[in-house]
Symmetry: C2
Subunit: 311 residues, 2 copies
Amino acid sequence: MPFEIKILGAGSASPLYNRHPSAQFLKINQKHHFLIDCGEGTQFQLIRYKIPIHKISHIFISHLHGDHYFGVMGLISTMHLLGREKPLTIIAPPGLSEIVTTQTRISESIFNYSLNIIECNTETYFRILEFEDIEVYTIPLAHRIKCCGYLFREKPKKRRLINARLPENITLLQRAALRNGEDIKDEAGNILHKNEDLTLPPKKSFSYAYCTDTAYTESIVPYLQNIDLLYHEATFLNAHLQRATDTYHSTAEQAAIIASKANAGALLIGHFSSRYKDLEPFLEEACKIFPNTQLAKEGDWHILKEEHEHI
Amino acid sequence: MPFEIKILGAGSASPLYNRHPSAQFLKINQKHHFLIDCGEGTQFQLIRYKIPIHKISHIFISHLHGDHYFGVMGLISTMHLLGREKPLTIIAPPGLSEIVTTQTRISESIFNYSLNIIECNTETYFRILEFEDIEVYTIPLAHRIKCCGYLFREKPKKRRLINARLPENITLLQRAALRNGEDIKDEAGNILHKNEDLTLPPKKSFSYAYCTDTAYTESIVPYLQNIDLLYHEATFLNAHLQRATDTYHSTAEQAAIIASKANAGALLIGHFSSRYKDLEPFLEEACKIFPNTQLAKEGDWHILKEEHEHI
């Protein structure tokens, strides 16, 4: 199951109506365990939703407004108290390292594990991490302070062998060549078996992008083309467009326009202002432009997988 | 109703079993609204228990371990977002100001209200605040880093006039003299009315002390003599006395010994280690030495008042 996304919080700066600040848990291919943003109380949400804290290897922070990072110190302290030994990497805009080291110095805290803070350049689209099966990119966003989104993308997969059709004496090298899309040839270069006779197309490679906080900016659309799921902030309704513009936030309609221009598979909206108690108008506003929209609700899982895959 | 104490959190560093980290709301004489310690999530607890955040005028931080202060940034940011204009004072050991200003600088945050951070000397018993009716003292505690408790004490009250017995022609000055315990005399200095014929003794002055985190130390007993309610940490059971000693914490038995030596009216214990799921053994252990002990439980109110006073 490629992508599993758990919403831990989708409120904005004021924690009203029991909405927790931004945090998402992202599990990819059953082996990558990431946390995206970490507002105050994220460690409580992780415990509430029984997310295995010790498995989280990376924390991605979009920007250094408190509702996106005030939970970092508590979580990394708890990781230490829970006996963590494996390293933890935090990707964040410049400044988080100073914030963390100031506090560990003053509280005379030493962690039992290696804490690596990578301060990223939020101004460019940049591959900040690469694994065997996935890549993570920063996406420059338009906010009041340095802020980036994150794009999680599976690498292109290899073609799948149709075992029943493979020649009996096929070698390992020939199998690899087939998975890479090549034909099987003899030593003189003559085609013995055409690739498409022995293989099926690769499985789909999924992608997820997390874009918060940001003013409406079409500059991000090229990075999001054909994304399977886009999380885009929708702090305001279009009725408060001017307020959104003034505060470098977006409306539900604007999020839907970005999803539409990016030809996204689905849109998830969140970071709702505390001025709105009822969130249904957000869904209505976005769906008029981009019907496959959902509200980010705490505790919900969002799954990206092939149709025939089992959960 | 002199003292009303609401427990917002009484867990220790690891937030297990739904125990929140240290925080208490203290309301005195219906007019002072204080917060004592502010672990992560305190702002959510304040909202949950419908405490009027805007009324809080002072925050008292015992020490700069995260479970006692990680909620400060979130709370003071929310106060700004809720439109606060009146000043806020935070009393804390040295270092909090740097922690706060580092984060407000990096997040480019400016608050609409005056934030005063008073960094106190945790090494001495010292009157850090005085109001018309109450005083607040720091109590030096024995912890791994600089740490102090806080003593909240009503000033001695004046004698109460028995109106039915007052002479008809009594002057304002004579009334004031009676309230201060003086007799009414003629110009030659002869006693016309003895004070005890016209007045009743003053109402009781209440006191509350908050002592966490600390190793067992009898040095604090003189400051706590005849205290009405003592909150003393009890991180461990006596079965783990060595662990308590090693980590500069106390056991339930030790908290009870301090309460007993101080001749306290009642003892409240908290800051329970996450190694204990069941807290009843804490109560049993403390009650053997100091029977009037209660467990600090989230959401509970503890009231100090004259017996005939209504809630």
